[in-house]
């Protein structure tokens, strides 16, 4: 069975400090993993994806994530938060590498950025 656990429902950081959003997954297959972002009243946007290539994945807006199979983790990081990063972030697992089939979403982490 496949599942995703986002370890924090809310994260608050000051502008200019690092961001860490934590995600653990469970998958019977070699998974594809994604991070999506949702700004208020906007649709979901793909930040980055892992599909069994390089384990360190770089995404848009300075975000990156590292796939750690031994820890079954796919944490999202950014060295320096910006006010515009305030949004909800979803970690997503898909059990098959080359097709999207039943994307399984975590419950989301709301990121607040304080000036």
């Amino acid at each position: 069975a496949q599942s995703v656990t986002q370890l924090d429902s809310h994260v608050s950081v000051s502008e200019g400090t690092p961001v860490l959003l934590r995600c653990n997954y469970s998958s019977s297959y070699s998974p594809s993993l994604f991070w999506y972002v949702q700004h208020p009243n906007k649709g979901l946007q793909l930040l980055l994806k892992y599909t069994s290539a390089a384990t360190l994945v770089k995404g848009i807006n300075g975000f990156e994530a590292e796939f750690k199979k031994s820890e079954t983790s796919f944490h999202l990081t950014k060295p320096s938060a910006h006010m515009s990063d305030a949004a909800e972030y979803f970690c997503v697992v898909s059990p098959r590498a080359y097709n999207t089939d039943k994307l399984i979403f975590g419950t989301g982490t709301r990121l607040q950025v304080f000036p």
Partner: protein, 110 residues
């Protein structure tokens, strides 16, 4: 750019009404999905379709049905709307390992 368009941003319906939510994509994608999004629960899959006239139940199909008569269009049907179906509904389409989402329809059932 891939575009996934949901026909309404906001809908208000009465309990017991039959409700249709429409979704159209313009990139010839095989896969299409309907999710509902509720605070603290993330996105939960209602139904998905991997080809015209093909559909599979997701995790929460009860009270919903779907229709896919053409490749570009995937409709979600609430047979008899209930207040616990008040939610944000998101449609998505994909071919490879990336899904593209519509803006969402916020449905309120009163």
């Amino acid at each position: 750019d891939v575009k996934v368009t949901q026909s309404s941003r906001y809908l208000v319906k009465r309990t017991g009404e039959k409700v249709f939510l429409e979704c159209v994509q313009d990139m010839d994608h095989e896969n299409m999905f309907w999710y509902r999004q509720d605070p603290g629960l993330g996105l939960r899959l209602i139904y998905f379709s991997y080809d015209v006239k093909m559909k599979e139940k997701g995790d929460i199909p009860e009270g919903y049905s779907v229709s896919r008569e053409k490749k570009e269009r995937f409709s979600l049907i609430l047979e008899s709307a209930s207040t616990n179906q008040t939610s944000m509904y998101l449609c998505a389409s994909s071919r490879g390992p990336e899904a593209f989402f519509g803006q969402g329809t916020r449905l309120t059932v009163v």
